[in-house]
Subunit: 241 residues, 2 copies
């Protein structure tokens, strides 16, 4: 197929060039996971946020640590490919990029990514971000915390800046989102480690408001609503007068 | 570093095993893009949706075609890692997975991913999905179309099922989302091809409602709103009585 493979012993580098469609053998999915230290990932997520945003920060905090701890095949994936998720997808305010980046890595390393990511998203919607775990190195200490009740960047950020009296385009907001990125990546690793150890618990329960709406709209009823976000964040409860 | 590299000439396969942290040289980001045929990607996106959902369908339609057309380094990325985005991230209804998957691939292949993805998301919010381009092979022909006015899976799917009189967990809905996946992946490729040819035009304009709200809430004003989604989808216009 025209692929050239050169092992550079001095540089300890494998150089592969040319067309080799389907011919580089990487391990079958999911890739081999090695338990990581959530504290390492938490600080790294904070730091990497400032280099490429929230999705990049969360994904690369896990990816780069796996590149160091496991090496190949993680070394074939460029962290830069996760920059698009910043600000809820090129600033559209949809899915929080930290969740998006953590989701990609959970998916890469485990077939049970679905239940772990569901738990991570549920946890995110109820967590008072940012945590106080970054006080030793952050730029703005002891920041106001808010609970987004939503996995959307728009809700998470807008709520926080209004509570904190900060601007969206401020250094305070960036510090808050950097901390949140580290917090979310670390939680993903905690959940993943628990899964590997056989200790994973799906603790998240949907809100009582969502549960109320789903008594009619759910799969075995009207089945006309897609999603798990809390309905009352955007809709009135039409069953109440 | 302990990496073993074996070139199997008969199988035309490079086998790399063992620990090789940082030692497999892949091209610097962004990866080399070769213009793809949107029609090929459109049909493939539809087909792959049924194998792994909307994010997988959109990402893999582009990834697998690049694996064939370019080969390495695209052959190192497993399409399976994009399954988590299905249903707006493990069914939470946030960012449409087709946009998420297309976004990852746009980001992987071009430094200007931001303006292309912004255009793709804007286009998505105004497009009457699904297109009629899948009539030759789809399961449900001539389906009702709806304009989501949102990049959120929740809005896109819930609006459509209610307009179509279908269920979220129905084959009709799956066919609609399969078509949408192909439509979105193909549009991403069209925009990318235009960018490569120097013909890219950022045609999307924000809605008049959003523009109205931003006269106060924007970056140089209150700067307290994060995102580009249409405000009035969830909020009342408090400037009107």
């Amino acid at each position: 197929m025209g692929a050239e493979v050169v092992w550079d012993k001095a540089a300890k580098t494998v150089n592969i060039t040319g067309k080799a469609a389907g011919s580089l053998s990487v391990p079958a999915w999911p890739w081999p996971y090695k338990k990581l230290d959530p504290k390492v990932v938490k600080k790294r997520g904070y730091e990497l946020y400032f280099k490429g945003g929230c999705m990049y920060g969360a994904a690369a905090a896990i990816l780069f640590t796996l590149q160091e701890e496991v090496g190949f095949p993680y070394t074939t994936i460029p962290g830069d490919m996760f920059k698009y998720g910043a600000g809820g997808a090129v600033s559209w305010g949809t899915l929080c990029g930290a969740l998006n980046g953590a989701g990609a890595m959970l998916n890469l390393v485990n077939k049970d990514y679905s239940k772990v990511l569901n738990e991570l998203i549920g946890w995110y919607t109820e967590y008072p971000f940012p945590s106080k775990d970054h006080e030793d190195y952050c730029k703005f200490k002891n920041q106001v915390t808010t609970v987004a009740k939503s996995p959307l960047c728009h809700a998470s950020v807008s709520l926080w800046v209004n509570a904190a009296g900060a601007k969206v385009n401020s250094d305070e907001k960036k510090d808050r989102c950097g901390k949140l990125t580290g917090d979310t990546a670390a939680k993903a690793v905690e959940l993943l480690n628990a899964l590997v150890d056989g200790n994973f618990i799906a603790a998240y329960k949907v809100s009582t408001e969502f549960e109320h709406c789903m008594t009619c709209h759910w799969e075995k009823g009207m089945d006309n609503e897609q999603g798990k976000m809390n309905c009352v964040s955007c809709h009135d409860d039409h069953t109440k007068k």
